[in-house]
């Protein structure tokens, strides 16, 4: 008999609904697991055990009254600390929001609460989601459950590590340039970056508004589909949310991939990609062929320059979004200011970390008089080229596959002094964000270093149903994969 914390979300929901176990037992098992592992992993900024227990008790009472439960009722969840939670501190990983307690819930947090999913806590992240390792947090470094000397990836590193370590069956993160898929790959879990606009951003603390998207982490493709099913859909409070109806991701998940055309992205298989990563992705391509897919190679010539465009567009949008942290309406305010500009400046200088300042500076420069056309304007043109490359690829292929990251998890501290090297770890994930398209990262085995390798399945906007089918087919074909060392019960 597996421990309760080892069950996946689908199993938990079934066991709670049938009365085999109770929501409170499941929640307590996860809280105990967190207590045991948190000193080593440090996946959370804020834990909310009382909230989780009261939600779990409400699910058990509803079941006791004979009420019908939602498909994920009683399944605990962890939320990235960039999602506003009414009455629960929300820091975005920043010192500037150390004492910020939002007066409202993000739309998706409302949905999670209404679904009867106990909220275990708020997970660690790079400050304002700017980073690829979770080292840029004002609240300490999260460690990779596969090797505590390595990063979990980022920026949603806490959410990925919590799911990989069995501290939560599912979690939510955000993906602006790969911040769900990259940590999912490095921690060996499933991570979904939905189509831009598929999930409401209302109540998400903004980084780059034309790129940010919320999505799930899970240990199985089916669980990830079930969570996206819950949070996807139009929201009148987010005018960029898509009015398109949400497909039945879970219902269609086992429809198979026979006869589909799969493109392997050539730019992902070059010299910069670790041999072990390349080998696992090549094997996955063979598996798709074995399942009846027509597998070919595809080139996306703009793939590499997309990184340059991203590091102009995202900082430009961040410099504008983060102007709101002025010490007036919320967040840290420096004392004893001479005047309001002095107060703004000293509050920001004290409250923001190095990477956030670096990006605000980059963005302000790229948008400043005399440089706008050369930088931001050109980056927007590259964005068009990226979209055109994908459109051309999807004329020949139904979906694409590519390594999620060029390498497996790197060591803590390895890239902190070299921002450009850190940025390169998002090389393969960024194009989807620029195109507003969907992507799923799932584990496809271990590299030669024994660390998890992630493969992305990429599709055009609103192709989630197809991508879940493809990811599920590969997951089933691969069979059980190794678990991290911390998976053993303790």
């Amino acid at each position: 008999m597996a421990e309760l914390w080892q069950l996946d979300a689908t199993e938990i929901a079934r066991a709670v609904a049938s009365g085999e176990t109770s929501a409170i037992d499941v929640t307590n098992a996860h809280l105990d697991r967190i207590e045991a592992l948190e000193p080593e992993i440090r996946a959370f900024i804020t834990l909310t055990p009382e909230l989780a227990r009261s939600q779990a008790a409400a699910v058990d009472q509803a079941r006791g009254r004979g009420e019908a439960l939602g498909p994920l009722a009683g399944v605990p969840i962890a939320l990235k600390d960039v999602l506003c939670t009414d009455g629960v501190r929300t820091t975005a990983g920043s010192k500037i929001l150390e004492k910020y307690v939002p007066p409202y819930d993000a739309t998706i947090v409302e949905r999670v609460r209404a679904a009867g999913m106990p909220v275990l806590g708020k997970t660690n992240q790079d400050e304002f989601a700017m980073g690829s390792s979770t080292e840029n947090s004002a609240y300490g470094v999260t460690r990779n459950p596969w090797d505590l000397a390595r990063v979990p990836g980022g920026s949603s590193g806490g959410s990925a590590a919590a799911v990989a370590a069995g501290m939560a069956p599912v979690s939510l993160g955000t993906d602006t340039g790969g911040s769900i898929r990259q940590p999912a790959a490095l921690c060996g879990v499933v991570g979904v970056k939905p189509t831009y606009g598929r999930v409401s951003r209302y109540g998400l603390i903004a980084f780059a508004s034309s790129l940010d998207q919320i999505g799930p982490f899970a240990r199985t493709v089916r669980d990830a589909a079930a969570v996206l099913q819950l949070i996807a859909g139009h929201d009148p409070r987010d005018s960029t949310s898509s009015p398109e109806p949400v497909s039945d991701y879970v219902g269609a998940i086992d429809h198979g991939v026979d006869g589909l055309r799969v493109g392997v992205v050539r730019e992902g298989m070059g010299e910069g990609t670790q041999p072990g990563v390349k080998a696992r992705v090549e094997e996955a391509a063979q598996r798709f062929a074995g399942m009846g897919c027509d597998v070919g190679e595809v080139s996306l010539p703009s793939f590499e320059v997309a990184l340059s465009a991203y590091y102009l567009i995202a900082p430009a949008e961040c410099s504008s979004n983060l102007a709101r942290y002025d010490g007036v309406r919320y967040g840290y305010r420096a004392d004893d200011a001479r005047d309001v500009v002095d107060m703004n400046t000293r509050s920001r200088a004290h409250g923001f970390g190095q990477e956030v300042k670096r990006r605000i500076m980059l963005g302000t420069y790229a948008l400043s008089a005399g440089y706008y056309d050369a930088y931001y304007g050109k980056a927007q043109k590259v964005r068009t080229l990226v979209i055109r490359d994908f459109e051309e690829a999807y004329r020949h292929f139904d979906f694409l596959i590519c390594p999620t990251t060029p390498t497996t998890a790197f060591k803590i501290g390895e890239k902190t002094d070299d921002p450009l090297a850190m940025y390169l770890s998002d090389l393969f994930t960024i194009p989807s964000n620029l195109a507003g398209a969907a992507g799923i990262s799932l584990p496809c085995g271990l590299g030669e270093d024994g660390l998890p390798v992630g493969i992305q399945v990429l599709g055009p906007p609103l192709s989630e149903e197809l991508l879940f089918r493809a990811a599920y087919a590969l997951e089933q074909d691969l069979g059980p994969l190794p678990s991290p060392p911390v998976w053993e019960a303790r």
């Binding site: 320059v305 465009a309 670096r358 500076m361 050369a374 927007q380 043109k381 068009t384 979209i387 906007p461």
Partner: protein, 97 residues
Amino acid sequence: MRLTREDVLHVARLARLAFTDDEVDRFTAQLSAILDHAARVSEVAAGDVPPTSHALPLVNVFREDVVGECLSQEKALSTAPETEDGRFKVPRILEEA
């Protein structure tokens, strides 16, 4: 693109940020390196390519102009560093005449 210390100080003023001398030195070097990399966008972005500011083809999202729920004044002010008489309070903005 070689930024100067003066460029960095100018942008810092625009962004309402302040740096120590060491930070200015570090940022001058780091931002120059990142901008060198970013400048590659100029090499591929030809003049006739239209810019994309947003990936979704949504324009003019309208809704009925009806009053809905909103935060109470008390809740909206609850996170402010300083308030007075139901308003946000800030340090002096204008010099005294």
